[in-house]
Amino acid sequence: VILTDAIKAAKAGGDYSQIAAAIPYMRFLGVTARQDGLGLTCVLPAAPRFVGNPLLPAFHGGVVAGLMEATAILELLASIELDRVPKLINIAVDYLRPARVAETFAQATVTREGRRVADVGVEAWQDDRARPVAAARVHFLLV
């Protein structure tokens, strides 16, 4: 799948899983996206191969950050005029609770969209939306 085609198709039909499927790392994570009244939600499956702390066990911090970054990218593609993957400038992640081996969800908000830079906030949670496992702020270069 050509990425620009997947982006066009997703924007036209509202199915952002098509973009996730066209990006190897998002496919590697098995990320899917769904649109409902609450906006775009990304879902990470409960796969044991994502474990970073085998004692708890809990997901690796990199996997949770990867989900949040993927969510930020898909939210940007959904909400602004952009036809390719925006460049990551930086990410700051607060890990709030251990992310168990469970289905994990993430939602992003474009806090600021400038001409060159976008600031996106992301939250990830598992069983309880009110008890996030992680929060992140991500900056992207749009040009």
Binding site: L3, P54, F59, G62, V85, L88, P98
Partner: protein, 152 residues
């Protein structure tokens, strides 16, 4: 409190081998010191974030940096005790070069009773001075005489 033990390369390699995500990404120990370590992340087409350029997704870079930061803390403590990442910030200075293995080095520059401060950077062996990503992380430490256990 149990006495610090020397953590050697073999122990670190064993720890890495028991972390499913690290095994999945093919991470391997390159070098270590009293409060630092270097890991390698092989280039892998599964980890590409932009299919147009072949550049790795930030998440894969975050995984190797988070891991090596944790290892640096273990080395500084002299204890393979548990810890939790409180916060991790990564600046992506330039894209990783497609096809090239990425190295990540982290150093624990301050260790207190409860908290460890770690900085790290990712780069390629071909251009070691050209930083791909720079990180600052803070870890909360589990007491050394108590294994990491589940919180309610």
């Amino acid at each position: 409190v149990s006495a610090p033990v020397a953590i050697d390369a073999k122990m670190i390699e064993t720890i890495i081998r028991h972390i499913p995500h690290c095994v999945d990404l093919g991470m391997r120990l390159v070098e270590l010191g009293p409060d630092w370590a270097t890991l390698a992340l092989p280039y892998d087409a599964r980890l590409v974030g932009d299919p147009d350029s072949g550049v790795l997704h930030g998440g894969a870079v975050t995984s190797v940096i988070d891991t090596v930061c944790g290892l640096a803390v273990m080395l500084a403590r002299g204890q393979p005790a548990g810890m939790a990442t409180l916060d991790l910030r990564i600046d992506y200075l330039r894209p990783a070069t497609p096809g090239e293995e990425l190295l990540a080095r982290a150093e624990c520059h301050k260790l207190t009773r409860n908290i460890a401060f770690v900085r790290g950077r990712a780069y390629h062996a071909s251009q070691p001075g050209d930083t791909v990503a720079a990180s600052a992380a803070v870890f909360m430490l589990e007491p050394a005489d108590r294994p990491a256990k589940a919180r309610p």
